[in-house]
């Protein structure tokens, strides 16, 4: 059900959504020109959490920058650090032991689930349902427990090293992960029954916030936003990195282009991530987690390197322009939500404010990642 026909009046007023607003999940500001409940024009104002990671990347050595990547997107931090280590390994030609690669995939997928779980709760909270957040965070805590036991932190992991990992996983972790998988499967079914089937929920999302495939292309939207528009784009499949080519998983694609499609994509993705985790646990090879030969000082040769990974929010890219020293000459972060958010201004024109905010929730924003 889309909104009723909107007859424009001449009188508009400006509404500032943010920087402090419950719907923006952080410090994002959208200057909306409103005609009653309708948005005539929206302009996003960024930069309220701009911390200049890119300059830090140039001023510090490559290992020193590693923790920054997890502050970039605190929900799916593992995926972002993964991009950085992959980029450096590509630039400095460091071999990674197979066991380390498998554990990396395992961790990234666990983190993807925890990120999507948090998004799920926050999204339903945007729509006014508060309880699913609690359920989702409780399930998320179980994943965080697993990861904390290995990595040592709950949110901002700095677990990957150039060439390998900081810490090996033990049998306790593997057994605990195997125990958590059925629990999460059960929870996902419960969410389906509790939220996805809810008539109010569906009415609020079906047909709301259409983002077509062409619009995705023009704005460079990736991740679940693109997959909700019928594009089967996933860097893990399109441009396999690490050991993703070894795993059997599907890309969930929905062709409805609306907020519900984006919701469904993420819910299905959690199931696929569970599949990857199961396979990674089965296939986990024995061996070292750090390479035998590794340069003491990371100094990639002169050149320009790009590495894209699929994070929970879409295609994240790191461009490193190296001049052969221990600092990067240019350290560019291509964040997925930056592109995803840039289409919001156009997409929300003519929508009612509550639908626009529902759409904003379906984009899965993490503001520090947009502002960097």
């Amino acid at each position: 059900m889309s909104g009723p026909i909107h007859i424009r009046s001449d009188e508009t007023f400006t509404l500032n959504v943010g920087p402090q607003h419950p719907a923006t999940h952080g410090v994002l500001r959208v200057k909306m020109e409103m005609d009653g409940e309708y948005i005539v024009k929206a302009e996003t104002v960024l930069g309220y959490i701009h911390r200049m990671h890119e300059l830090m990347g140039e001023n510090r050595t490559y290992p020193q920058v590693l923790p920054n990547l997890s502050r970039l997107d605190y929900l799916g931090a593992m995926g972002y650090t993964h991009a950085h280590v992959l980029a450096i390994e590509r630039a400095a030609s460091i071999e990674v032991p197979e066991r380390a690669e498998y554990i990396r995939v395992l961790m990234v997928e666990l983190n993807r689930i925890s990120s999507h779980l948090f998004w799920f709760g926050a999204f339903v909270m945007d729509l006014g349902g508060f309880t699913p957040l609690m359920y989702a965070i409780e399930d998320r805590e179980h994943i965080l427990d697993l990861m904390e036991a290995v990595t040592g932190s709950r949110l901002t992991y700095c677990y990957f090293r150039f060439g390998g990992l900081y810490n090996d996983v033990d049998d306790d972790f593997i057994n605990a992960t195997r125990a958590v998988i059925p629990r999460l499967r059960k929870s996902l079914k419960k969410y389906d029954a509790l939220v996805t089937g809810n008539i109010i929920f569906r009415k609020r999302l079906e047909g709301i916030g259409p983002i077509s495939a062409e619009m995705c292309r023009k704005y460079g939207a990736t991740g679940p936003v693109a997959r909700g528009a019928g594009l089967d784009f996933d860097v893990r499949k399109n441009e396999p990195y690490s050991v993703y080519s070894e795993f059997d998983f599907d890309i969930p694609v929905y062709h409805e282009c609306d907020s519900l499609a984006r919701y469904n994509v993420r819910m299905d993705e959690m199931e696929q991530s569970l599949r990857i985790i199961e396979q990674a646990l089965d296939k986990l090879p024995e061996g070292p987690i750090m390479p035998k030969k590794k340069p003491k000082l990371i100094k990639p040769p002169k050149g320009d390197y790009y590495q894209a990974v699929e994070t929970a929010r879409g295609s994240f890219g790191i461009r490193i322009v190296s001049d052969g020293t221990k600092n990067a000459y240019r350290f560019k972060l291509r964040s997925p939500t930056y592109s995803n958010m840039s289409l919001f201004d156009e997409a929300c024109e003519g929508m009612m404010i509550m639908d626009a905010l529902a759409m904003m929730g379906s984009l899965d924003l993490v503001i520090p990642e947009i502002d960097r």
Binding site: P19, Q20, H21, P22, H25, G26, V27, G47, Y48, I49, H50, R51, M52, L55, M56, N59, R60, P67, N68, R71, Y74, L75, F118, L133, M134, Y135, I137, E138, E141, R154, L155, T156, I367, P368
Partner: protein, 172 residues
């Protein structure tokens, strides 16, 4: 936790014939049992703040789970994340909009001192929330664990009212 022993303003009131000490104590204990924080997350620490409000850690046990989106109804501002120069005036306005009595918590290293982002060449951030806000409790961590936030709330309760929920096991 980094509480400072700043004398509360109530102690500076000159004594009079009528003593309100008992009433003050009661009022303060009432206040500390219902800290309503402002729904105001800036960065990573906000996620831990939400985790603290949610099922496992549950801030509501201490009556502090009523996150109010409007500063008019909030008592406690938890500065959870890096304060940028662009955001600073906004935070100042939010603080000014909160009615007295109000308290500020600096959650996480960024809000304490700029944390990892205070580097050479940084032009964008404010080095800690205490540059422009009177911070009552500092909670270190990057991000702090939910238990740390709970302890911070208990410390703030103690600071405001001098009342302890539990006996300090270390002192006994």
């Amino acid at each position: 936790m980094g509480t400072q022993n700043v004398p509360s303003p109530l102690e500076e009131i000159p004594s009079s014939v009528v003593q309100f000490a008992a009433a003050d104590k009661l009022i303060n204990i009432g206040r500390v049992n219902s800290f309503w924080p402002l729904t105001f997350g800036i960065a990573c620490c906000a996620i831990e703040m939400m985790a603290t409000g949610c099922a496992r850690f549950d801030m509501s046990r201490f009556g502090a789970e009523v996150f109010r989106p409007s500063p008019r109804q909030a008592d406690l501002m938890i500065v959870a994340g890096t304060v940028t120069k662009k955001m600073m005036p906004g935070i100042k306005v939010l603080y000014d909009q909160m009615p007295e009595p109000k308290w500020v918590m600096a959650l996480g290293n960024c809000a304490i001192s700029g944390g990892p982002f205070a580097f050479e060449g940084q032009y964008s951030i404010v080095l800690g929330a205490d540059e422009f806000l009177p911070v009552d409790v500092y909670i270190p961590g990057c991000p702090p664990r939910p238990e740390a936030l709970l302890q911070g709330i208990l410390d703030l309760e103690n600071k405001v009212s001098g009342w302890n929920r539990w006996k300090n096991p270390e002192k006994a």
